[in-house]
Amino acid sequence: MIRLTVDDREVLVEAGTTILEAAATSGIRIPTLCYHEKLQPFGACRICVVEVEQMKGRLIPSCSTPVTEGMVVRTRTEQILKARRTVLELLLIHHPLDCPICDKGGECQLQDLVYEFGITQNRFKDQKSNHPIDYVSPLVERNTNRCVLCGMCVRVCDEVVGASELSMVNRGIRTKITTDFDRPLDCEFCGECENICPVGALTNRQFKFKARAWEMQTISTVCSFCSTGCAIKLCVKNGQIARAVGEPEGGANRGSLCIKGRFGYEYVMSPERIKRPLVRRNGKLEEATWEEALQTAARGFKAIKEKDGPEAIAGFCSARLTNEEAYLFQKLLRTAMGTNNVDNSGGYAHRGYSPGLRESLGVSPAVPSVEDLRSSDAFLVIRSNVSETHPVVGYQVTAAVKQNDARLIVADPRRVKLSRLASVHLSHRPGTEIAILNGLARVILDEGLEDREFLAGSTEGLQGLKKSLEKYTPAFVEQATGIAGADLKQAARLFASGEKGVIIISAGMGFGGDDAALARCAANLAQITGNAGKPGAGVLFLGEKNNSHGVVDMGAEPDRLPGGQRIADDAVRQRFEKAWGAALSSKPGRAAEEILSGAEQGSIKALYCVGENPLQTYPDSRRTKKALGNIAFLVVQDLFLTPTAQMAQVVFPVTSFAEKEGTYTNCEHRIQRLRKALPPYGETKSDGEIICAVAKALGTDIGPPAPEKVMAEIAGLVPRYREVTYDKIPVKGIMLDGAGKNGNEQGKSEALPPRAQLIPVDFVAPPAPTAEYPYVLLTGPLLFHSGSLSPRSKGICVVCPEAFVEIGHKDARALDIKNGDTVAVTSAKGSITIGVRVTAKQNPGSVFIPYHFAQPPVHELTDGSQPQVVVKIEKRTP
């Protein structure tokens, strides 16, 4: 610890702290313009200067000078104030001072400082800066004339986002912030630069002329897209969202956002939303009253229950429901309807992942927190394009690599953003991840790089695992995956050399493969390297949607009650029967896949589909269509009239995340609260309200939908939620398990079971390309979108409006295909016509299609029973 005085106050701080930070700890504010806690110090603006007795004769930039023992610092002498005034005058020479029409007005740091220092005239004069303004780039407007050259935009884009789209160009007085050759932005459009810009040089185009900073009401809530669970602030004026900004208090994101969080909320205000309930009359969906719709739904379900039994009814719920709503949904199915046929979209996308991890690491495996990732020093990113699926988690990895020199290994068949930063990029054959993980484990054990102490003290099954790894020699792995032995070894050594290693895996409909096996394999590797149960280390599994993790915790699974507790376990079931006052079936229900096959064969007759759109998002859409067509009574609950909703008997319109309350549980098991920002759209009701109303219409009381009441019930039944009190959840959320009490982000070692299991997993080769179908089709998410919701947001669609197939240069040449051509992509299941992007990202032999778009329907090509499919490609355009 270091002792110093700041303005006569004694301050005690850790070595390495800067003067600025030390002053802040005792409540002394020093103005800054180029400092940000997320970025490395830059020391460019000199507004933060202070005097230090030991460094007499010059002014010291406090943001970039570390404290030393006995330092005597003054922050507000006459000389300092004079210097700050001069800095401001210099900045104002070229600045246009067009505050009345600047969107940063009212929250501009330059404006505030000029006000604070009372600068009324300028001793210096020169021509005002007159650069052209960039009105062409989508979402971000650039007006360099207002720039103070703090460099924060350049640094955040490079050090955190990792896009490095902006640069300081030229030199001296001609210095400005721009891209190469002043072209418009062609980047991730995360808006982090616009958000960090202290002045109006970079502004949010969606927000242009919408509101002054002080006119808006600001509501802290949670992003509705991915499972990173970024906290966002919705700024509302006149009942409309004027913009979204990152919530600096947010536990996972600390104010950062990606394009979806910042610009993707627009779907909430889409005129295409359904306003009133719809009921099918004479074959046509027509508007109805809530009463009529609810009664129709209840009558339909009752009729089928009486005629075909409860087992003929099933429910799908979206992983975008709140915890409370998912809980109510499975309770409705299990009590009022009497069936365990309930599953969530995650069940389809990554079935087995949670069970896989549970078997290895216990019921609630310790996960590294997103915040702690910055302190991790080794990353293995496998089957996860994390920078696109969970961009803000990607920022943490980028920052760890760029700011702290963490080691990064990326295993991805494509050249992705993170592979550019990686020390080793394992560009493997699609679908061979398990062979890689086994290969890495074997190298580590062979070379004696394992964490022996951890293995001996905390795990079981090492001998069996060693035996199972015998065949995974580097030569075998090379043959199976296409990864050279030397690269595999280098990756293994690198990962094993980390003190805090993290394995990152993402889930999503596009990532095929056996998730349980992959989970076990990743857990094995984490254990071998001792990366379990300590902060900043472990396996981080990223569910696709905002509440992918919560809906699993809430029992929206066919064989498990809330809390992952098995329905077949008598003691468990009896506890729930008592709490719910209803008899429960002990027979595990059908999972999503089985529900569809049941529908196909005629054993599932009624389906309650909440927020799910299987027709567009599940594999093999022809088959899905046939199955849904067979269902006698389909009820859909959604924001939009999706293709699935169009087939329904009854459609309930729901409120969006911005119009309701409830909680989400993110990928690091942080529970956070939604807060209502807008009144319900039209006559919509929340999913929870509708589910309770359906129960009531069926003559059952499953309790009131109020989230605080439901959460109290959940806390009584689900051990890991027992400490959660709805009203007490702070903006940063609460970490479940152990660490929950004070919300601190440290590791949760108490969640580890006494002994973690090392479970051998064998690799099964994926379907190989054939002469007829020579390419492997990869489907997956894009940075710009999430699920099928974001294509409804205008701003995002300006950046990324439509689907395409990515083909590597070599394959494109062989097929005589150019960028922008149209091709037919055909699998054994079906065929679609789609535009081409020729890209260096794609390796020969595989092609990629993002899955967010309704058209063309990529799931006509996929196969529910196969992790990936092979396709052929034919040129369509002349």
Partner: protein, 165 residues
């Protein structure tokens, strides 16, 4: 649009042999930290200048962003984004030379070569540039052709120096 034009220019001034050589050089620098500036110097030696297309190639090759490359190229005065002739004619416009009418020398050279400052002759033999003080004020006015320095020039006969090339 601006980019399309520069690439056209590049096609005019940069040969496929140059590109091939550049690509092989890039491979040597890949993965070495701090390699951007030395690689750009090599690229300029090979291609003569650093237009958008060459900068993109360097950026792709090193897997860094083109904006970063542009930032560096635009910062250092020894990099040029305009094509240069075989012989670069630089006229000193520093104070000492200026008072000795180096602006007239510039005008005459420009007339003689039929190009403006910053341009290249049609046969790509000469390009014309203005520079700050060359540190040879004693010899003012000064002009440099390639590596050769010419001092104490007479504004009227200064164009004769071109005859040596």
């Amino acid at each position: 649009m601006a980019e399309a034009r520069t690439i056209e220019q590049a096609v005019e001034f940069i040969t496929t042999e140059m590109l091939d050589e550049l690509d092989s050089v890039i491979v040597d620098y890949r993965g070495t930290p701090g390699s951007l500036i030395p690689l750009l110097q090599r690229a300029q030696e090979i291609c003569g200048y650093l237009p958008a297309e060459i900068q993109r190639r360097v950026a792709d090759g090193l897997e860094i962003s083109p904006s970063m490359v542009y930032g560096v190229v635009s910062f250092y005065s020894f990099f040029t984004m305009k094509p240069r002739g075989k012989h670069v004619v630089r006229v000193c416009l520093g104070t000492a030379c200026y008072v000795k009418r180096s602006d007239e020398i510039m005008q005459n050279l420009s007339k003689e070569l039929k190009i403006a400052v910053g341009e290249v002759t049609g046969d790509k033999k000469f390009s014309l540039e203005g520079v700050r003080c060359l540190g040879a004020c004693g010899l003012a006015p000064v002009a440099v052709v390639g590596e050769d320095t010419y001092g104490l020039l007479d504004p009227v006969t200064a164009t004769d120096i071109l005859k040596n090339y």
